[in-house]
Subunit: 337 residues, 2 copies
């Protein structure tokens, strides 16, 4: 049995849940927008599915749902935002106009967000910049879960990186990928279904490689994608996300005492480049030719296209939610922070 | 039997070979420095081993060894250099001071090099910036050799990316890695020794996956590292290296008619960030703690450390070269462009 809602209704419901559980109205609206965007794009693991995690984290007292970020002009090309122990997306929303203006006037600019929590996908953060014609690159570190290549102990977060490139017609080309071989949710699913993990995906609690998902979940850790090369990417994201912003490294995670907390107090770094300044007038035509060869000539998939196809389908209809999921959301309205 | 030379003598010999075969004295010196740096660091494939390739490419008429780059101030945070069909390293040398000053004053800056040839490793390009306290990221595209994940035809270059992070004491942490699963030279070695390639490393001329290195070398292509994630990195490097600079994409390679040419006329993009502006005073201490955990706690290897160990050994002694290699170098002195 399913319940159907308009996207506006779903947004209102999500924002209301966040507000009842400790967010300011403004912060609730910003986060609800990212949750609904994920649901709309078929990125279910970052959609409504994640609401109990948001609520548990808010109720744990670990993050401040009412935080007001502090934006600092850190140089002609830099914006630094202290999220004040709140959501990274709110900090980004507050610094967005300033860093966009800087990218246009300087040719390249960056925003460094620290003291921030990020539960959502990174593509949501970079797509709007590319919609405005800028190339964007985002690096977000997270709670330590990944063993470096050649190591035995978890050190890095699953550390996503995202890249967005504007296109002449239609939405930008955007990819967003964790530095771990598998998402944590995929390992949970493998455990539930009794699947074996691919080689390199997991480590048990003793630091030995394992292909048993239960061993990973039971105090173990994950492996990076692509061996030593993916591990180098994870290290870069850790440095860009935490060291360059002043946010906590994954191994500095302080959420332990806060029961139910699902985020780390970390950082996010986003670089913006104006392609018209360096790539010339033909930038958009040339990239279109590269994408055409990738898709039409090669039969490969352009990163992000599956999400856009889901988005087009979603926007042509109302949002359809399993009744059990909807009941779960309504229950979250009852719980007080 | 070996011949020993001081590093200065080896530099003079390499520069002389380049000059005799068509480089201006200045350009010969710049390229000789990168060749000797690779030899010094035990990165043999980019060292003296590559000299016949430099000479063949110079003699083919495909690149201009006497090119004088044209540096343009493309914005408060941007430097754009037209290498004028010469070596990328010469273009970088000419734009280096301007982009370094911009990074210091703006907090972030970039240099976009186009119409350029790059035979060498990227770590040589970024290490000096990190030596001066800047975080550096480089993207260089190359002649198409790599099939996108899910595709059948070569589209991307082996597309290296490099990352450099300054350290408080000693040389920076630098990694430099191709987006292909294997280096082209490794596939040649596998063919010679009759090894089988790992799954995903190669495609035959018909576009079918193959583990036979001879199939790859005989009109085939290579696969990206790390499946779809490495393929996304290769796509990003193609866009950063070529589209953002105005350099040729890998698939636009025009070297065909120039017999012996081993480079493509491509592009390189380098981003520089001043960590003191965003990461604060503790940046160097915090990164040191991350590196300590990676190496001492974890038993993993810090990227670049093997090269630095080789460098320390090399600098404690003279350069020792197989007599056959030295004879080969002397023979290159005889050939006229």
């Amino acid at each position: 049995m399913t319940v159907t809602l308009s996207f506006d209704e779903a947004h209102t419901l999500v924002a209301r849940i966040l507000e009842i559980n400790g967010c300011s109205p403004r912060n609730a609206t910003v986060i609800a927008t990212t949750v609904i965007a994920a649901e709309r794009d078929g990125a279910g693991s970052h959609g409504l599915f994640r609401m109990p995690g948001y609520v548990a984290t808010l109720k744990s007292g670990w993050l401040d749902g009412k935080a007001v970020p502090k934006v600092r002009d850190a140089g002609p090309g830099l914006v630094a935002v202290d999220a004040n122990n709140g959501f990274a997306q709110v900090a980004l929303a507050d610094g967005r106009d300033l860093v966009t203006t800087k990218a246009r006037t300087q040719g390249i600019a960056a925003i460094a967000i620290r003291n921030s929590h990020h539960f959502a996908a990174l593509w949501v953060d970079v797509e709007p910049f590319a919609d405005q014609g800028l190339v964007a690159m985002a690096f977000g570190n997270a709670r330590h879960r990944v063993v470096p290549f050649g190591g035995r102990k978890k050190l890095f977060g699953t550390n996503p990186m995202a890249f967005a490139c504007p296109r002449r017609n239609g939405p930008p080309m955007v990819w967003d990928q964790a530095s771990s071989m598998m998402a944590h949710g995929e390992i949970q699913l493998a455990a539930r279904h009794g699947y074996t993990l691919p080689e390199g995906a997991g480590y048990d609690a003793a630091g030995n490689p394992t292909r048993d998902p239960k061993g990973v979940l039971d105090g173990g850790a994950q492996g990076p994608f692509g061996g030593h090369k993916g591990s180098a990417i994870a290290l870069m994201v850790e440095l860009m996300g935490a060291a360059l912003t002043g946010g906590d490294f994954g191994f500095e995670d302080r959420s332990g005492p806060f029961v139910g907390a699902q985020s780390s107090n970390a950082g996010e770094f986003i670089v913006l480049i104006d392609p018209a300044r360096t790539g010339g007038d033909r930038f958009l035509d040339r990239t279109e030719e590269l994408f055409r060869r990738l898709v039409s000539d090669n039969g490969a998939r352009l990163p992000g296209d599956r999400r856009y196809a889901n988005r087009a389908r979603s926007l042509a209809q109302r949002l359809s939610i399993e009744k059990s999921v909807h009941d779960g959301l309504l229950a979250l309205l009852e719980e007080k922070a």
